[in-house]
Amino acid sequence: MADRVATPLYAPSSRFRRAVPSWATFLAVFVFLALLPWLPILGWTDIFDSGNDFGKGNLAFVFAFAIAAVGFNLLVGYSGTLGLAVAGLFALGAYGTAVLSAPSEAREALAGYDWPFFVALPVVCIAAAIIGVLVGFPAARLKGFFLAIATLALGELIVTIIRLDEKVWDGLKTNGGTGKQVPQFRVPGLGRVDSYYMLSLGALFLMMVAYVVLTNRRLGRTLKAVRDIDIATGPIGISSTYYKLVAFGISAFAAALAGAMWAQNSSFANPSAFRTRLLVFLLVVLIVGGLSHKWGPLIGAIFFVFLRQKLQDTQKLLFLILGITLILAVLILPNGIAALPERMRESRWVKDLQRRLQSLAGSVGSSI
């Protein structure tokens, strides 16, 4: 007992991780994405060709969806709480920043409150987080199916209020069902498209840093405990209700931030864009990308935006394919594309294939 065992207090990292720390990989990915507008090496994809505005716009959409999915990931993947208000909070972020930052002296489609964009953005995101927590109070007592229904209703409620506009309150200025023009924030020294590309990327970077820092530490453990131990967390000293509210708040913040970025990018917001369809899109991003995986949201968003642009002319086909993908992902890749390398390594089929290839190479070698 006197000689303590030499087990390290923190889990030792693998040899690969010691050579290339995960923060280095993380930074490299974001530096690469930040340099993309000047590095048109994705020309072969046409959809993500960063050499033109179309490709950059698509990438900016990827970032926006990934931001929402990061928060969604924390809520669903970590705390195991199936809150589905994310589409409504996304709309809140889009409309909130649009209305607050629009000039007050303008026609109805562009009228607002003259707030600077960088004041409106945090205010809207924090307001969304507060709404998320308030909704969480009753919702945290519900489970699974009932929780999903209750939060889905909240999402629809927000969209309905936006649609009703002056019938709710004439200061709302959402311009009803016809849609709202979004005043775009211009990063000094950058063009219109580069500006919102960088803005979305920066927001994704901050969100991802927060996500990685928090989930790798105490909050991540605690949320997993809420997910797996749930009712028994009380005698451990962890209030599952409190932490469900924390997860609701962070995911609502992320959803609103994503909505704001999406609005900057599309420059026009219409209430019908935020119906349950958007929720399905985000579920595809999250589940196909990989639940509770760091890179899941980004990979899922790339997959989704690619598919949406490919099938732009045939909307019905898009939904069919998304549905099939979602089912296949749940069946074959329950941990998403992000977990694919890990799954490949463990798969018997791949190991068998490797063995066969080696023996084939051996026999070819001996016959020559």
Binding site: M1, A2, R4, V5, T7, P8, L9, Y10, A11, P12, A210, V213, L214, R217, R218, L219, R221, T222, K224, A225, R227, D228, I229, A232, T233, G234, P235, I236, G237, I238, S239, V246
Partner: protein
């Protein structure tokens, strides 16, 4: 085996003289009266709570840890009624608990699972964590040190960074005991800690519990079906039967009390005047066939079903 250890570095031996008093406790689920006027006094040391299945033992724990609302009566921790406290509030007040089936995050490491018990003692919040404040990091490292010491006592230091799901059921239960103990409780509720454990794990569990008890003078309350284990560990045992306490006292008193033998052990149980028990074939010992219990000696011999023998020396 149970040599009392001097305080290990890193641990915080807090001398407490916690007492838990239950008075006239009534609990009913609908028409089913589970507890009918239970009076119990728990003092520092090992307290045994035994009784047949369905006697209401776990319900007593559930009332203490806040899962079940009592109908009548009171539960007092050091004289204070704990009824207004939430479940997490009771943990802060010093009540720790384990469950019959281990409740762990299976895809988190043993260390992470153990750290959960320490979370309520963290002073720095999640914002400090997000800002990567060095104080927060230091606090995390200190907590990990405390957890590692505790895991070491239960022979789990080597698997500290393994996933909890990869461990045997016995080891998982030990992790849960360690997690409850790092929360620095003064009253510890152990719900069948030895059920499902192999003989080696039981030895490790008892050694660890005795060490901690000796260092911190905890009030440990143990529900256990293995009578041999309870009688060797607990100087005071209470017997619960159909929601009532039917007997209380020393192991000798309880195991020879005719009321207990009648109600709990069933027939075919022979007890002699001197309190010695011979050839016990009863539902009492689920895991061990008790061959011989020597009441006055320090040595107790347990024969497991495989015929392996191990020796226990109660402190």
């Amino acid at each position: 085996m149970s040599a009392v250890d001097t305080a290990a570095p890193g641990s915080s031996p807090s001398e407490s003289h916690a007492s838990l008093a239950i008075e006239d406790l009534h609990v009913a689920f609908g028409g089913n009266r589970v507890l009918q006027g239970v009076d119990l006094q728990f003092t520092p040391g090992f307290n045994g709570l035994i009784g047949p299945n369905g006697a209401g033992k776990t319900t007593v724990f559930n009332v203490i840890s806040g899962y079940v609302r009592r109908n009548e009566g009171s539960v007092r921790l050091n004289g204070e009624d704990i009824a207004p406290l939430s479940r997490t509030g009771r943990v802060k007040a010093g009540i720790g608990r384990t469950f019959q089936a281990p409740r762990l995050i299976l895809d988190a490491t043993v260390m992470e699972n153990t750290l959960l018990g320490r979370h309520h003692l963290f002073r720095w919040g999640h914002l400090a964590e997000l800002l990567l404040l060095p104080q927060q990091r230091r606090e995390e490292t200190e907590a990990r040190q405390v957890c590692m010491d505790m895991l070491d006592r239960f022979g789990l230091a080597d698997v500290a960074h393994e996933e909890a799901g990869a461990l045997s059921l016995g080891s998982q239960k030990l992790v849960e005991v360690a997690r409850a103990l790092v929360a620095d409780p003064t009253v510890m509720l152990l719900d069948e800690p030895a059920a499902g454990l192999g003989a080696d794990d039981v030895t490790v569990l008892l050694r660890g519990l005795r060490q901690i008890q000796a260092e911190r003078d905890l009030c440990m309350i143990i529900i256990e079906h293995d009578l041999q284990l309870v009688t060797s560990l607990c100087p005071k045992i209470s017997v619960l039967h159909f929601g009532e306490i039917i007997s209380e006292g020393s192991p000798e008193h309880v195991t020879t009390d005719p009321v207990v033998i009648e109600a709990y052990l069933g027939h075919g149980f022979e007890a002699e005047e001197g309190g010695e028990i011979h050839e016990v074939e009863s539902p009492l010992s689920e895991h061990h066939h008790i061959d011989h219990v020597e009441e006055e000696g320090e040595l107790t011999e347990v024969w497991t079903e495989d015929g392996d023998s191990e020796q226990e020396e109660p402190s």
